[in-house]
């Protein structure tokens, strides 16, 4: 007993030291560096118009990508878990594609499709539609990269729940929409929120794919992660870390919300049996 507790204490110390060194110290360093020239300098670098524009763009992209993936993620998970159809396993594999491909490759694929020399380049130019080096391209790349988060979260959950609840609702005379709204959605709500949270964190933080399609036009097509890189390359460390600290803050909020959700989720899981 004693021996065991000494062992587990040792393991705990190692675990925490590891976490501290590789996760906590860098995080603290980000905030430390951001505030190294004082609070005034920090506030000033955030109030820079280009930074503001990057923040607005990041929020805009997330505000489009997350709801889109919410709808399509739920639809895909619903279709995969509640119906049998040919090509189902292909769909499941496709959903994982954004996770398995390097984001840079995804970005390049969009350039190949929609860039000036790309497959649809001429047609897009003729119709005055800008995708690459424009906001639309950033949104497309982000939607692509973050598609799996919600669907992946829901598929195992909905597969486990089966179809009986929906069948019960239908047998009681509910229509498809009532069944979805009153039965399916409440059954998946915590998992869905969790997926939305992860999807949002990635939508705001995505660098690789967005970097390829954005063109880095200051004040126009720079998202926060891209702007951090630009500032850093210009040796504006306070500015770079100030913006980075905002992203880190987002990560922290996401983690807290996620923990709260997991706690709620777990509570639900326990009482449902």
């Amino acid at each position: 007993m004693r021996r065991q507790s000494r062992w587990s204490f040792g393991l705990l110390v190692i675990g925490f030291a590891y976490l501290g060194l590789f996760l906590l110290v860098p995080l603290v360093a980000v905030f430390g560096e951001a505030l190294s020239a004082g609070v005034a300098a920090y506030v000033d670098s955030i109030r820079d118009p280009d930074v503001w524009s990057a923040i607005r763009l990041t929020l805009l992209v997330a505000a489009i990508a997350v709801p889109l993936n919410l709808v399509f993620g739920v639809a895909a998970a619903w279709a995969i878990t509640k119906f049998e159809f040919p090509g189902k396993s292909i769909l499941v594999t496709l959903i994982d594609l954004p996770f398995s491909v390097s984001p840079v490759v995804s970005g390049l694929a969009f350039v190949l499709l929609f860039g000036a020399q790309g497959w649809f380049g001429e047609w897009l130019q003729a119709h005055d539609i800008e995708i690459i080096f424009a906001v639309l391209g950033i949104v497309l790349a982000t939607v692509f990269i973050t598609f799996p988060f919600i669907a992946r979260e829901l598929i195992p959950l909905m597969a486990e729940q089966g179809r009986a609840d929906e069948e019960a609702a239908l047998s009681l005379g509910a229509n498809g929409w009532q069944t979805f709204w009153h039965v399916t959605l409440p059954n998946i709500r915590w998992g869905l929120l969790y997926g939305v949270l992860l999807c949002n964190a990635r939508a705001m933080g995505e660098f690789g794919a967005v970097s390829v399609v954005s063109g880095h036009i200051r004040g126009k097509t720079n998202t926060m992660p891209l702007h951090v890189e630009i500032l850093y390359n210009e040796y504006n460390f306070v500015g770079a870390y100030a913006v980075a600290s905002l992203l880190a803050l987002l990560a922290l909020v996401t983690l807290v919300l996620k923990s709260v959700l997991e706690w709620r989720y777990g509570l639900d899981g326990r009482t449902s049996h």
């Binding site: 009986a164 609840d165 069948e167 019960a168 609702a169 239908l170 047998s171 009681l172 005379g173 509910a174 229509n175 009532q178 009153h182 039965v183 409440p186 059954n187 009482t271 449902s272 049996h273």
Partner: protein, 348 residues
């Protein structure tokens, strides 16, 4: 309400789930679909409900063809094996669900729904538990909530899929009796699926025995038990023993022992004798089949004795009175007094 299935067939890929089944249930009848897993009984029930659709054949309610109607349009009550209660809703909201999703014109008022819920809670003996959530109820209580929820829409046909399958033996027996009573009181037509022969024989007016997507026999419980249509039914609805026999000159013989059973008309040569453990007598040595006692177990009111007969692989299980002295290894002459005879090779 009467329900009739006419020549219904359903396959899953190459696997035939239901093969050309026709079946009728009279108004107010309590029908059991009995069979082993994979016999198609649940699929048949789901076809009646409109949760599955047959490839061929017709489903009629009161003579009207409703084959193409969806489950929502059929207005049947369906009780699921694992209850399928909506766990985020209170018991009362669960029961009210079928009424509160109705269109504005046909939806009862709030007060009317509340009154109906109270009435149903009373009916299923759960008054006062309306505010609880399904997770706070026992298995038997959940099953009764599921039943109340199905009854709320006032169906004329109640379909139950293994209604007691997930409950422990004692609760199961209580609920069984209660359901039988309820069925009688409500004047419904009810059909339930089970793999438990006791349940089917105790509850149903008529039992439909199924195997491999076909109906083996439809009859009242007593007839199913006493005059099974074939070896499958005999084997499935109760404990059974089997011995190879010969039929000669209208007499049934096992080796040179005559079994006092009259053979089916026209059957000759080798056949199989099926008999229940309690339909056997101990007889003087030269009048019965000599068998060696290989095991003794106590049972309610009697003892279950296992016998080996030389040259026969399958052990015979026979009930004898508690007063009789038997020991393992003892040789005793036994003779089936009531038995059924079926062809030796079951028709393919």
């Amino acid at each position: 309400m009467s329900i009739s299935l006419r020549r219904v067939t359903k396959t899953y890929g190459d696997y035939p789930a239901i093969l050309d089944i026709s079946l009728e249930a009279e108004p107010r009848e309590f029908l059991a679909l009995l069979g082993p897993s994979g016999s198609g009984k649940t699929t048949l029930l789901r076809i009646m409900a409109g949760l599955e659709f047959a490839e061929r054949g017709m489903v009629c309610f009161d003579g009207a063809d409703i084959t193409a109607l969806s489950v929502a349009e059929r207005g049947v009550g369906f009780v699921f094996q694992h209850y399928a209660l909506f766990k985020h809703m209170s018991v009362a909201d669960n029961i009210a669900f079928g009424l509160s999703v109705r269109r504005r014109g046909t939806r009862p008022s709030r007060a009317a729904i509340a009154a109906k819920v109270a009435e149903l809670l009373d009916l299923v003996q759960l008054s006062g538990l309306g505010k609880r959530y399904p997770a706070q109820l026992s298995g038997g209580q959940r099953q009764r909530v599921a039943l109340a929820r199905a009854l709320a829409v006032e169906p004329r046909l109640l379909l139950l899929d293994e209604p007691f399958g997930a409950l422990d033996a004692k609760v199961r027996k209580e609920l069984r009796r209660w359901l039988r009573e309820l069925h009688g009181r409500m004047g419904l037509t009810s059909i339930f699926v089970t793999h438990d022969q006791d349940e089917a024989l105790e509850l149903a007016d008529r039992v439909v025995v199924m195997s491999s997507g076909r109906i083996e026999q439809i009859a009242p419980p007593r007839e199913i038990y006493e005059t099974p249509a074939n070896a499958f039914v005999f084997d499935f609805v109760g404990e059974s023993n089997r011995l190879p026999v010969r039929i000669e000159n209208g007499e049934v013989r096992f080796r040179d022992i005559r079994i006092p059973v009259s053979p089916p008309v026209g059957m000759m040569g080798t056949a199989l004798l099926y008999f229940r453990p309690h339909d056997v007598n101990i007889v003087p040595a030269d009048e019965g089949i000599s068998a060696v006692v290989s095991g003794i177990r106590p049972r309610n009111g009697h003892r279950r004795v296992e016998f080996r007969v030389e040259g026969i692989e399958r052990i015979l299980e026979i009930d004898i009175e508690r007063e009789m002295q038997v020991e393992t290894g003892q040789v005793i002459a036994i003779r089936p007094e009531r038995a059924s005879i079926f062809p030796a090779a079951p028709p393919a």
